[in-house]
Symmetry: C2
Subunit: 230 residues, 2 copies
DNA sequence: CGATAAGTGGAGAGCCTCATCCACTTGATC
DNA sequence: GATCAAGTGGATGAGGCTCTCCACTTATCG
C-alpha cells in the first residue's frame, strides 16, 4: 500500500509538486471566494498554466471533488466523535457546532457539500455515512429527553441551509455570526421549551444534499429556451 | 397628480403595454429563478426584443430596482403594521414571520434586498425606514420582557441571512422550511430560556444590506488579477 | 551525456452574459 | 389616410467563463 493517494503515484517529481500546489491554492481560493473562482485564477496563483491544471483535473468538478474530499472526511469524523460521546445531547451539540463552524470557515464548503458530484462515488458514500451517523445521534439525543421529540431528521438540512446563508466578506465575521445562529438554534432544539412547531417541512437531507443538477449549478438545460419563441 | 408612476407617463400606448409586460414577466422570473436570469430570457418571455427591454431599463440593475420597489414598500408596511400592534412581542413575531415568508417566496428577494442599488435613492430610504422601524419594534418588545434582553439589533441581519439560505426548487418547500426555521428562531428569541449566548456577532444590519459592491455581485475588480503573474 | 516520454504554457475555440446600433414598423395626430 | 416621431427587433460588440490544442521544455534513465 503506497502512502501516496494513487492519483499522484506515477507522477514525475516536478509534476507532483505542481499538482500539490494546485490543490493547496485551490483550497485557499475556494475557501476565500467560493466555488465561482475561475480556473485561470487558480492556475495563475499556483504559477502554472491552465493546461497543467486541466491535465491533472480534466474538469473543474474533479478539482472541487479532490479539494473537498478531506473536508468530507472531517465531517464524518466529527459525527463519529459525537457518537462516541457518552452524553448524546452534548455529542449532538458539539457535532452541530463543529460542522457549522467548518461551513462558515469555508465559502466553498456549502456549495461543494450540496453539489451532486455525479462521478465522485466515495464522496457519495462519505455523505451517506455522515447522514446515517447523524440520524443515530438524533435518535439517542431524543432518547435522553434533552432533544425535543418533534425535532425532525430533516431539520438538520434546515440548519445546514440556514447556516450556509451566513456568508460575509471576512471569515471571522461569518464564524462569529454562525456561532450565534447555532447557539440560538440549539437552544430552540432543547426539549425544555417545546412550543408546538409548524409542519415538519418537506425537506429531505438526501434531497438537499443530492440535487438533480451538477456541481457548479449549470442550470436546467431547458431553461435556455424559456418560451417557444415568437 | 397622475395615477401613472411618471416613468410610464408620456409613453405611447403599445410601449406602455410592453413595459408593463416586461415588469410582470421579470417579476415572475426573478421570483422563480433568482436575479441570475438573463435579460434575453425576460425579453423572450415578454415577447419583445432585447432592445425594447434596454430602452425602458438602461441597465439590468434598473429593472431589478423597478421590479422590487413595491416589495420593499410591502416590507415597510409590515413593520408599520407591527408597530401599530398593541402587543409589541406579537408585532415583533408577525413582522419577522411576514418578512421571512416574502423572502422565501421570492428567489430574487434576498439578492435584491441585499444589493447595493447605488442609484436607487428611494429604495435606500425605504430600507433605512424599515431598519429604524424594526429597531423601535425590538426596543418595545424587549421592554415587555418577552424578547430576551441580549437580543442584538443585528441579530435581525442574522435571521435574514439564515432565512435567505433556505432556498429550494419549489417555492412551497422553501416557504414550509422557512416557517419552521422562523418558528425555531422565534422560540429561541423568547426571554424565558435566556441561556447565555456567544458574542453578539459583529454583524451590522446596514453593512449587511449595503455591501460595498454592486447588484449582481460583479466581484471586486482587483480579483481578476490575483497574482503579479509569473 | 543523450534519448525520449512526460510535462508544460499560452493562444484560442465555443458558449454565455450584458449592453448597443440601426434599418425597419407602427401608433397618434391633423 | 398621410405624416413622422416614437417604438421596435435582431445582429453584433466586448468581455467573462470552461476547456482544448500543439509546439516547446525538462526530468529521468541507460
Amino acid at each position: 500500500m503506497p502512502t501516496v493517494p494513487a492519483a499522484v503515484a506515477g507522477l514525475r517529481a516536478d509534476a507532483r509538486q505542481n499538482r500539490d500546489r494546485i490543490v493547496e491554492v485551490a483550497r485557499e481560493l475556494f475557501a476565500e471566494r467560493g466555488l465561482d473562482v475561475p480556473m485561470a485564477a487558480i492556475a495563475r496563483r499556483a504559477h502554472v498554466g491552465v493546461a497543467t491544471l486541466y491535465r491533472r483535473f480534466p474538469t473543474k468538478e474533479s478539482l472541487v471533488t479532490e479539494v473537498f474530499a478531506d473536508q468530507f472526511e472531517a465531517c464524518v469524523s466529527v459525527v463519529d466523535d459525537a457518537l462516541a460521546d457518552p452524553d448524546p445531547w452534548r455529542g449532538f451539540c458539539t457535532a452541530v457546532e463543529k460542522v457549522c463552524t467548518m461551513q462558515a470557515a469555508d465559502r466553498g464548503f456549502s456549495a461543494a457539500f450540496t453539489a451532486a458530484f455525479p462521478d465522485a462515488v466515495d464522496i457519495e458514500q462519505e455523505r451517506n455515512r455522515a447522514i446515517q451517523g447523524f440520524a443515530e445521534l438524533t435518535r439517542r439525543a431524543k432518547a435522553t429527553g434533552r432533544l425535543r421529540a418533534d425535532f425532525a431528521q430533516d431539520d438538520f438540512a434546515l440548519l445546514l441551509m440556514a447556516n450556509g446563508g451566513i456568508i460575509t466578506e471576512s471569515t471571522e465575521t461569518a464564524q462569529a455570526a454562525s456561532r450565534r445562529l447555532v447557539a440560538y438554534l440549539l437552544s430552540a432544539f432543547r426539549a425544555e421549551q417545546a412550543e408546538p412547531l409548524p409542519p415538519p417541512a418537506p425537506l429531505n437531507l438526501h434531497d438537499v444534499l443530492n440535487p438533480p443538477t451538477s456541481t457548479t449549478r449549470p442550470a436546467p438545460p431547458a431553461s435556455t429556451r424559456l418560451e417557444p419563441a415568437t
